[in-house]
Amino acid sequence: MQSLWDWFRALNDATGINLTILYDSFDRRRFVSGFLMTLRLAAICIVASVLIGIAGAWLQGSRLRLTRSLVHWYIQFFRNTPPLVQIYFFYFGIGSLLTTTSASGSAVPVVSNVMWAIVSLSFFAGAFNVEIFRSGVEAIPKTTIEAAESLGFSRTRTYLFIVLPLAFRISLPALNNNLVNLVKTTTLAYAIAVPEMLYVSSQIWSDALNVPVMMNVLLFSYFLLVGFLVWVMHRWERAIKLPGFGT
């Protein structure tokens, strides 16, 4: 392994292509931690936003007008404002209200910036998911559900065996669009100093002064990450497609 890293050090000496993230162990660890933080943000936000979407879709069917309009306004706010503004709103707006005093007497935020990034991004993607799930459920014909009931399926069973699997298959393309967008949006956490890939790279290039190299590495990493995700989504959609329906 060390010989591989040394080769890159020699490359730098020869050509000036300074890949410190490869031959320097500190920078290597930093970059990997940034990458893992991006993955962590993406994974947690994907799961959280799907749960928020399911909860929101369920609450939208509530009989209480208050619940329905709360969900409606939640969706409208997060759907139609720039996500950066949302992150600022959570971190600077609400975050500045939730402080406790530390031992030295200064105000210390209770919730870390990583948490706020997760909260903000999850609610952002969750708002879209609510609509996606609800329209998926509504696209199932009433007669199919009546047919299931007439066959003796209880309300719960109908939901489990017929409504949810069908709604899922119908919603999957839109859901995938949303999740890929979410992974790209995680870079906005840079604005509140979350050590994800962009932030860490900026630290590396301000130390090692290898901006062009790092920028290209960064672009390429995102290309691979998002490209991989898109490919997985494509495969999943094809595997789960309803035969005879759609191209």
């Binding site: 409208q76 870079t187 604005a191 920028m215 672009l219 035969p243 005879g244 191209t247």
Partner: protein, 296 residues
């Protein structure tokens, strides 16, 4: 790779459909969104009303926290409006320039994607997806850091200010998305059109420019306009790279005022302007989409 034809009625293998037409509509709009790169912005007057309400609440909060001797909140806002308006116009300028350059480059790239020559086609495909997969902020950084701060052309040194670099940084994702919109639109034209043109002895170039492209313009407009609305809202990203646009200016104004509780009032004020600008665009997009909805 199965290429989904954008905006085409999804054929079903049966004469008795198994799912409601709304399921077909959902599938189709998901495909359109995938092509245009973003969700469709759906603004309503109620959003504007909500923003105004937030603004009034913010004013109330600020007024309640105001100390005697301080000018009223509305006076303060009015005082700073010219500066903020200037910032807002700056955002709009950035969005207009980025959209122009991005569209021009994107159209070029989009037509390259349907070229008959494999190297051009594959190169264009790779470029498009390379810039589509990258987050907008990363591309912004890319341009901010890698474009030179001045360039010498014909012996004249032209400085390239930060905001131009940021604009070009925003033009890159626009280019990639427009490229996909163009490709999707062209591929959604039924093969029958190409066949009838060929039978009338049109060559490929004539078919493209006289028959296919005029029909594509209508299909490209709604996602293109949607992209512009999204881009306008995305210009606030340039505040992260230090461009003095409206968000940055608002932040500076707030720290200059150093009065507590102005946050909500000012930011809702500023968001309201964005709404005023994006709302007509979003409505027009919806109307165009309904008007040009194509049924095969």
């Amino acid at each position: 790779m199965s290429r989904r034809r954008w905006n085409q009625e999804l054929p079903q293998g049966t004469d008795l459909p198994v799912l409601m037409p709304s399921a077909t509509r959902i599938a189709r709009s998901a495909t359109v969104e995938r092509m245009s790169g973003f969700f469709m912005l759906r603004l309503q007057p109620a959003h504007g009303a909500a923003l105004l309400l937030l603004f009034l609440i913010g004013c109330g909060v600020a007024q309640a926290q105001a100390e005697p001797g301080h000018p009223s909140i509305l006076v303060t806002i009015w005082k700073w409006t010219p500066l903020l308006l200037g910032g807002f116009l700056f955002n709009l300028a950035i969005s207009a320039v980025a959209m122009t350059f991005g569209t021009l480059a994107g159209m070029f790239l989009g037509f390259a994607q349907i070229s008959l020559l494999p190297p051009i086609r594959k190169g264009a495909w790779f470029t498009t997806h390379f810039f589509r997969n990258a987050p907008w902020l990363v591309l912004l950084f890319y341009c901010m850091f890698l474009l030179p701060f001045q360039v010498t052309v014909f012996g004249i040194t032209v400085p390239i200010p930060d905001w131009i670099k940021a604009t070009l940084g925003l033009a890159l994702p626009v280019m990639a998305n427009v490229s996909e919109i163009v490709r999707g639109a062209v591929q959604s034209i039924p093969t029958a059109q190409w066949e009838s043109a060929a039978s009338l002895a049109f060559n490929r170039r004539q078919t493209m420019w006289m028959i296919i492209v005029p029909q594509c313009i209508k299909r490209m407009l709604p996602p293109w306009m949607n992209l512009y609305a999204i881009l306008t809202m995305a210009t606030v990203l340039t505040s992260i790279v230090g461009v003095a646009e409206m968000m940055t200016l608002t932040g500076r104004v707030l720290s200059a005022e150093s009065r507590p509780g102005l946050l909500l009032a000012f930011y809702s004020y500023v968001l309201f302007w964005f709404f005023l600008y994006c709302y007509p665009i979003a409505r027009w997009t919806v109307r165009l989409e309904a008007k040009y909805a194509v049924n095969h």
